[in-house]
């Protein structure tokens, strides 16, 4: 099913009924099933969808990078008046970079590790026979400056690993823009970046658009998309479900899938509400809710941790961090990468020893003990990681993973343990059939459910969640966040919830701790901190957050100005 529309006369790109499949004749797998869109210069088309929706393949088709085992058909695939179907590799190379620039998600793998970024850009110019050696160097520096790289002369001589994530991504953009292509395709250009850096990169893309370039933005993040897109295509399972002007689509989504995507975004407004349409009802079985107690379940006082870097210099990664976590509440820790969030989590779990300060678990000493003194009490505090797959022994089935989490003292008999595993599965919404699978054979959301089940196995009072939803699609993220909320209200378990995503933190946390460079810069109730931030750092974080707003093509607001955190007026279903 494709949605047809009448292409305008001045379109740079016209795609009609594009189909892509992979595999040989026997095992054809359709990935893109009849997609149509068009794009005019100076406009931005966003293709939105979850992983596996075919959005990246669609983008790659436009630069001829779908790979050797792919088959591409289309009724029309025209760029700048010429057909793109059936081009040879050589013809594609002439177009790629020169007429169509392509920006990939991960700058660290897309850039040559051993080549200075300036040379990388010069190489792109050289391949298309642009200028002389000297003029190419000049142009590279100019381009770096154009995309907002400070000290471009110095940066041009540096290699990708010497640059921060944001600078790398901007160098990649510079290299994609080097030959002044008419169309720029950006595939998840900001997904791996911190919010403040993301804002800078989006600024650059916006500036590109204003210079009259056509932009195709591939993203799973509706908020990012809403900042740049004029037109949005919502893709799922290889088809465009909804296609239209961005403003209209976000305000009055016609398709229920678009609506569900918008509903699934956690934010200030979604607090206390369900994000996913799935409802659940489980029996608690052997698990019994914790009673509220006067002592906080977890207390950190003046935690300090230093690491010695490769240069021999000690760096303070966690600097006098204090917090308390009460029974049944969620304390969110938010900060950018390198802010010391994860080290704080490891200190709370006593997987690392603090150099100063202490942690108390349920009022008793937790750090500064020999491991022997902690082992019995470790069942009171468990952990869920960002990447569940690496936290499972690759040889083990789900059943073995869950069995491993159960205490032999509390569940002495095999039937009892099996009964407990069935309960855990039910608690996290998995089926009996998943038990024999290996985690590798599960989807991302199912893996995270297994990880949560394992964390629940020992009946902990506290679960430390270290970026538990950061690797998941929005709709799966919504389900997992809902699951965590349900478990909290049913079991009274407390969460120490770490995330870089302000929306997620605001949605789930009762109280919030903002960390920067190892220090707590601000703490308080979620609304106080994230709606009325006092500290300049928190203010800049909140301002950088691209909110799902009504895009106004005419106005352009630079990043540091706080964007209004408004959401389309859609009634949020309350569970």
């Amino acid at each position: 099913m494709s949605i047809h529309h009448s292409p305008g006369a001045g379109d740079l790109l016209r795609v009609e009924n594009l189909r892509v499949s992979f595999g040989d004749h026997e095992h054809q797998r359709s990935v893109v099933k009849g997609v149509s869109f068009s794009l005019a210069p100076g406009k931005c088309l966003a293709i939105v969808g979850e992983s596996g929706s075919g959005k990246s393949v669609t983008a790659r088709t436009l630069v001829g990078l779908t790979g050797g085992r792919s088959h591409v058909w289309a009724d029309r695939l025209e760029f700048d008046g010429r057909g793109l179907l059936g081009l040879s590799d050589r013809q594609w190379r002439a177009i790629r970079g020169k007429d169509i620039g392509f920006i990939l998600q991960d700058a660290l793998v897309s850039l040559d590790q051993l080549r200075p970024v300036g040379k990388e850009i010069e190489e792109a110019l050289r391949l298309h026979g642009w200028g002389t050696r000297a003029s190419r160097h000049e142009r590279a520096v100019e381009l770096l400056e154009l995309v907002g790289v400070p000290e471009p002369e110095v940066r041009a001589r540096q290699r990708p690993y010497e640059l921060s994530g944001g600078l790398r991504q901007r160098a990649l953009i510079a290299s994609a823009l080097s030959l002044d292509p008419k169309l720029v395709i950006a595939d998840e250009p900001t997904t791996a970046l911190d919010v403040t850096v993301q804002a800078q990169v989006l600024d650059q893309l916006e500036a590109t658009k204003r210079r009259g370039k056509a932009l195709i933005l591939i993203s799973h993040d509706l908020a990012v998309v809403s900042r740049l897109a004029d037109t949005v295509a919502v893709m799922s399972d290889g088809e465009i479900l909804e296609y239209g002007p961005a403003r209209e689509l976000f305000n009055r989504p016609k398709h229920e899938y678009t609506q569900a995507l918008i509903d699934a975004i956690p934010s200030a407004e979604s607090r206390g509400a369900r994000l996913s349409p799935v409802s659940r009802r489980v029996a608690l079985g052997q698990s019994k809710p914790f009673q509220r107690s006067a002592t906080p379940v977890l207390q950190a006082e003046q935690l300090t941790k230093r690491f010695r870097g490769p240069d021999g210099v000690h760096r303070t990664v966690v600097d006098e961090v204090s917090f308390t976590l009460e029974q049944g509440e969620t304390l969110g820790i938010v900060g950018e990468s390198g802010s010391g969030k994860t080290t704080t989590a490891r200190l709370a779990l006593a997987l690392a020893e603090p150099d100063g300060g202490e942690v108390r678990l349920a009022g008793e000493r937790w750090t500064g003990l020999p491991e022997r003194g902690r082992r019995e009490r470790r069942r009171q505090i468990t952990v869920v990681y960002q990447d569940p797959l690496s936290s499972f022994d690759p040889r083990w089935s789900v059943e073995q993973v869950l069995l491993d989490s159960l205490s032999r003292d509390e569940h002495p008999s095999a039937p009892r343990r099996r009964a407990r595993i069935r309960e855990l599965l039910e608690l996290v919404g998995l089926e009996q059939e998943h038990l024999t699978r290996r985690p590798l054979q599960l989807s991302g959301g199912q893996r995270q459910r297994v990880a949560i089940a394992r964390a629940l196995g020992p009946e902990p009072r506290v679960i430390v969640c270290d970026e538990p939803v950061s690797a998941l699609d929005v709709s799966i993220q919504a389900q997992v966040l809902d699951l965590l909320s349900d478990l909290q209200s049913e079991l009274g378990v407390s969460y120490l919830f770490i995330s870089h995503d302000l929306g997620v933190i605001h949605h789930i946390s009762d109280r919030v701790l903002v960390m920067s460079e190892g220090k707590v810069v601000e703490h308080g109730s979620a609304d106080d901190v994230l709606i009325r931030p006092q500290h300049p750092y928190t203010q800049s974080l909140v301002a950088s957050l691209p909110a799902l707003e009504r895009p106004a093509a005419a106005e352009y607001t630079p990043a540091p100005v706080p964007a209004p955190r408004s959401k389309p007026a859609i009634p949020v279903p309350v569970a």
Partner: protein, 293 residues
């Protein structure tokens, strides 16, 4: 291309049993051939009389240094012994030396590499320096030294080759242990409060060993070649044993008159080593396509 490579979420199990014809169809001819060669030499090791009718030690001075013919398909040696029988009967010793040396070097490597990886710090540094010192000597030189001191025999050959190849494996195991020790699942097990010895037994050891299964296969082939090399230098099993290296050594004097005395045992060594390596690589590919991470 994440959206292409990502497996369907509820797809069939990876380790789905294949029906036999499809499983066979997926094997490359080279792998089948290698399998047949290994099967042939396996029979030679276990019941050599099944493959060679002639006694490998029966001297026939009437038929010395005969070129390969229908009667003696690989020819005869200077004492008129059937070379084919000698190669077949010699397989046992060559293969046992290869297996023994690999087992020994693995045992040493697991002990040293495992200890270095698990203990870390000072112990790691000491073991590492020791391994590096051993690395500085060529394997053959170490082995030569050892045989020179203890005299040539199958046992000394096993020990010599085993010792010589151990440092390489030890370093590999240390790397594996380090990688697994810092993995997410080991940390998860620690967070669950499992005692350290249990984590070592249930997570670190089995996962660190996984890639070594293949390397061990390749090691057997390599050890056979090393052992043959030692024997060629006259430091292997003493005559009249027909270990392959010893056959090469014995044929050296007649290389101008009887080329087959050098070529045929050499061919046996190459064929077996190549086949084992092929199978090893095949297993490696299968594992990596499956659950290797």
């Amino acid at each position: 291309m994440s959206s292409i490579s990502s497996a369907p979420p509820l797809g069939p199990a990876v380790a789905r049993p294949l029906s036999l014809p499809r499983w066979l169809a997926r094997l490359r001819p080279g792998v089948i051939l290698a399998g047949l060669v290994i099967a042939f030499f396996a029979v030679a090791v276990i019941v050599p009389s099944l493959l060679a009718a002639d006694n490998p030690l029966s001297i026939n001075l009437a038929a010395t240094l005969q070129a390969p013919s229908l009667h003696h398909i690989l020819g005869t040696d200077a004492s008129g012994r059937d070379l084919y029988s000698r190669v077949i009967y010699g397989a046992r010793q060559s293969v046992l030396i290869g297996l023994g040396a690999t087992a020994l070097s693995m045992a040493i490597a697991i002990a040293l590499g495992g200890l270095a990886g698990l203990a870390g710090g000072f112990v790691d540094a000491i073991i590492n320096r020791g391994i590096e010192v051993l690395f500085a000597f060529p394997v053959l030189l170490l082995a030569l030294l050892f045989v020179a001191v203890f005299g040539p025999s199958a046992t000394t050959e096993i020990i010599a080759v085993g010792l010589g190849t151990a440092p390489g494996y030890a370093r590999m195991i240390r790397g594996q242990v380090l990688a697994v020790r810092d993995s997410g699942y080991v940390e998860s097990a620690r967070a669950l409060g499992h005692p350290y010895h249990r984590i070592v037994r249930r997570h670190i050891f089995p996962n660190a060993m996984r890639p070594l299964v293949v390397i061990m296969t390749l090691g057997v082939a390599q050890s056979i070649v090393w052992a043959a090399g030692l024997a060629f230098l006259g430091l292997g099993v003493p005559p009249p044993a027909s270990e392959w290296g010893a056959l090469l050594d014995a044929g050296r004097d007649f290389v101008t008159q009887a080329w087959w005395l050098e070529v045929m045992p050499g061919l046996a060594i190459v064929l077996l080593a190549l086949s084992i390596t092929t199978i090893g690589r095949y297993i490696q590919q299968q594992l990596e396509g499956g659950i290797a991470r």
